[in-house]
Symmetry: C2
Amino acid sequence: MTFGSNDGSLKIEDESTTLPRNEIKTNGVLKSPNKNTSILHPDLVIRSKEEIPEPEALGLKEELPGWHGYVEWEQYPERKKKVQAFMKKFDFPGNYQVLNLNCLLMTRYQPPEFQLVPLPKTNPILEGVRWKQYHYALGKATKDMPAESWLFVEKEKSPDMIHVLQFPYNGEPPRGRLVETAITRNEDHFVRNHGGIPEIDEDAYFFDVAGLVNTPKRITMNELKNESLFPRQSTTVTIQCSGTRRIEQIREYPGDGDELINAPWAEGAIGTAKWTGVSLKKVIKYCGGLKDPSAAPHLEFLGADTYFKKGEVYNYAVSVPWRKVKINEVLLAWEMNGEPLPKIHGFPLRAVVFGYIGARSCKWLTRINVISGPSMGPVQQKEYLYYNSQVGKHNATYSSGFSIQDMPVSSAIMSPLDMDQIIHEGTIKLRGWAYSGGGHWPVRVEVSGDGGSIWYEVPYQKLTEKYYHAWRLWEIDLPVDAEGWLELVVRCWDNSLNTQPTFVRSTWNWDLHVTSSCHRIKVFSINKSRPNTAARLKKFEDLGIPFLPITHPGEDDLEDEEKYLSEMENRGGRDPLE
Amino acid sequence: MTFGSNDGSLKIEDESTTLPRNEIKTNGVLKSPNKNTSILHPDLVIRSKEEIPEPEALGLKEELPGWHGYVEWEQYPERKKKVQAFMKKFDFPGNYQVLNLNCLLMTRYQPPEFQLVPLPKTNPILEGVRWKQYHYALGKATKDMPAESWLFVEKEKSPDMIHVLQFPYNGEPPRGRLVETAITRNEDHFVRNHGGIPEIDEDAYFFDVAGLVNTPKRITMNELKNESLFPRQSTTVTIQCSGTRRIEQIREYPGDGDELINAPWAEGAIGTAKWTGVSLKKVIKYCGGLKDPSAAPHLEFLGADTYFKKGEVYNYAVSVPWRKVKINEVLLAWEMNGEPLPKIHGFPLRAVVFGYIGARSCKWLTRINVISGPSMGPVQQKEYLYYNSQVGKHNATYSSGFSIQDMPVSSAIMSPLDMDQIIHEGTIKLRGWAYSGGGHWPVRVEVSGDGGSIWYEVPYQKLTEKYYHAWRLWEIDLPVDAEGWLELVVRCWDNSLNTQPTFVRSTWNWDLHVTSSCHRIKVFSINKSRPNTAARLKKFEDLGIPFLPITHPGEDDLEDEEKYLSEMENRGGRDPLE
């Protein structure tokens, strides 16, 4: 029985007990995939022997000419229902599998995103097999999205990005480079996508303004860029994913491996750009203003990308309150650092919401709905919720998590790296970022070389300029006398005197969001201003053997017998006198 | 060029860039190895193109008939020197490799014991490739020891032992079973060997008493078992490796991966047996007593096993002070729980030193030397040292570590296991062990369900009997209301009011010894006495989907739209009133 395409194969569960996969990883370096094969994961498993209709019967197609990769869902409730029923026929990896014999088995191939196991050392770290299969299952309108989206990663992002999730694409730059410039280079800016990357012709592009506005309108890029209609705004804004530093929570306690694949972000899911476009407030004004501004409405953004949640299909949808728009803190942007938006960042037009979680800065904008409360789309209602530490799979509800909008004060040490072994002469240089959302800014950055007992303040000369909505980079030469494993820590104080929780444990939450606790790294200190250390290093040098890594055997003896015996005599031997 | 045996192959480094290995692991289950091939790791690498003499030229042979696997080193200094020079010709795995082009490369095959990487999930966890090659390199007198020793593991130990190091063999039993009986079954007792296992006929066996005694003697088993010469002693004694719980130190900060392979012990490197034999004090008396007891001499034990350190070769040698012997706390034992000593535990005769680190309880005893100070053998002088946390590869000396003899107060939770997800109704049953060395005994055991803030005392009815030299097992039903990830902790107080350091960090040391900090495990608590939790569990049951593991996707929605909206109304919505 074949399905979807000639190269795909569909297995009936009781005919096969293993689920072959196409291998796409090659020792940390990902080869450019053949878009029809390796990246697709076509090995779908169906639940029973019932007949599956060909996906073409769903009648899915691209919505508009010039909008490749855009399937409209929200306007077609019947289409969504049909797809929901269709999706139920498959067992996607990570599901439990219900056999027709009423016997329960876990699916046979478990991708690492759903297991209580250490993250793989590959790049991409996770593949997103489940989401690739969602797209594959629905046939030609969506099945090539994983492969096509990957081509934009290769074209638009730095070749050494850390791919935390291959599809939907999530990636961050290497740590050290991110803090070299206060404005992040576009190719190094982190990407957190929730689906495939649509390819939209600017000439064919428009977005709709609808709902509780006095004059609903369809607006083209030509109109939006017309400065006689809309004044332009350029603002330096840091965007941060609420998953930044999630890896610290994952390492301590596994959390939600539920429907949404939570990318294992490190400290690089944050970036700063000068965004240029039009304040959303001006666009609402152009549409005759709100019907009832006093009702505190919300503005819902819809994207052209396809989003899956609990077996249902959606367009990406999020919202922000009018109050945020009114103070010109929501921009509709087409330029990033003076260049057209890269496709992967939302070309031709995206929202940029200052000081909020990055998820609200909707890409590939198709529609702005003015609505009476927060969006009921799953990204707004069911995701990016911040739970009490006792909430988990056993009791989580959507209403009991609070919705992450403004981001809290946070910071990270980007150099040195965790587990570095550092030979120094009494000081270690630390570099990193500090940020606070919601219009707050970092006032003070402090570092500790002893796990958080004694704190050193970063001199103001070593902090980059202040912005209302951007990070500050910092560096400091930390006095370090001690040797061995040390815990280096950073914390930031913002202008509202907020600072960071002490430990990862203090803020652990089921969905693994907002790791804003003091950032801690372990480094091994080798202080060569100490004579014994200098002498030992010299000995390795003389032997022509590298000293690092510290876990490698040295071949020489640590102390000769004569020296040992004289030292032991000085110490009064091993035993007491009497 | 072949070397040693027909199936071994020796590679010249510039002819080959990869180092093939024989695969011995099969998905966590170890097949009985063919003793001539798979377990041996014969792929030696030599340093240069110089001619290597056949190992037979070393003239190594077994010392005595009936003593298979025993090569005497300490009586033949010239033999030791010759072997030391011979060993220098090889690059053993883990070494840096010095090419004849004066260019430095790390060896091409790096076993995991020398890398800053997570431990493998295999069983054996580590293979001990380097030590296998030491034995292989020396030719027929030692080359089969890894394979032969493994046969004793298979014969004498439980099939489900955790093999922390295959050779020299180090193994511990599964956690839960270890605390089922106050006396450990022989097949479950942990094993920490430092070399191969000699096979000695009891009829051919004797040991020598030499050095600063008035009448040096050679004593056979027949004499020792003669109750008219020596009164018998039976004592219940816990033996503990100073590496117990080392895995906690490894996980937090890597330490010495130096010449000695440090086995990644968990909480099972401890066991209790009733040992029967003769007090060493009686044997010394039989030899006419000490020449000068007031000089506080030490008693050195030599074993038949071969030990390697920094490219030199030894017989295993350790020592204890006379003071310890004088109070009848050193037993020469031939029975373990009423049975003859298993080969792997030292048959026919071993020392059992009460309350000390297990390393002093020398197996396969060949000689007892009365000497004026602690043994200068490498195990006593250069190993089992406890360093300040700032000491490491950069500055460690043997004299600056203190020599571990008496063991401190310690404890462990053996059930549940770390990362368990527990469905309960308000209490969780905890079981474990508590021990204190040096003649101290556990008086109180306390557990915490909140990381160490509130402590519950184990009721005395739930502690096993007190011994001067053995552990106590304990269990408690810990009240647990909270849900989510909790940190369960245990600590013990001994009769001297000593208790345990708080964190692993508090006691981390370069050689990763004596992990005596409060033992902490993470468990995920699911309290079904809470109505919301009970309802969610019921929902999974109704759907016929297992609830555990918690990281597996549930397919159902967490809250329906109606409930969500009414809950949000109760909460006053997401935004403030004004």
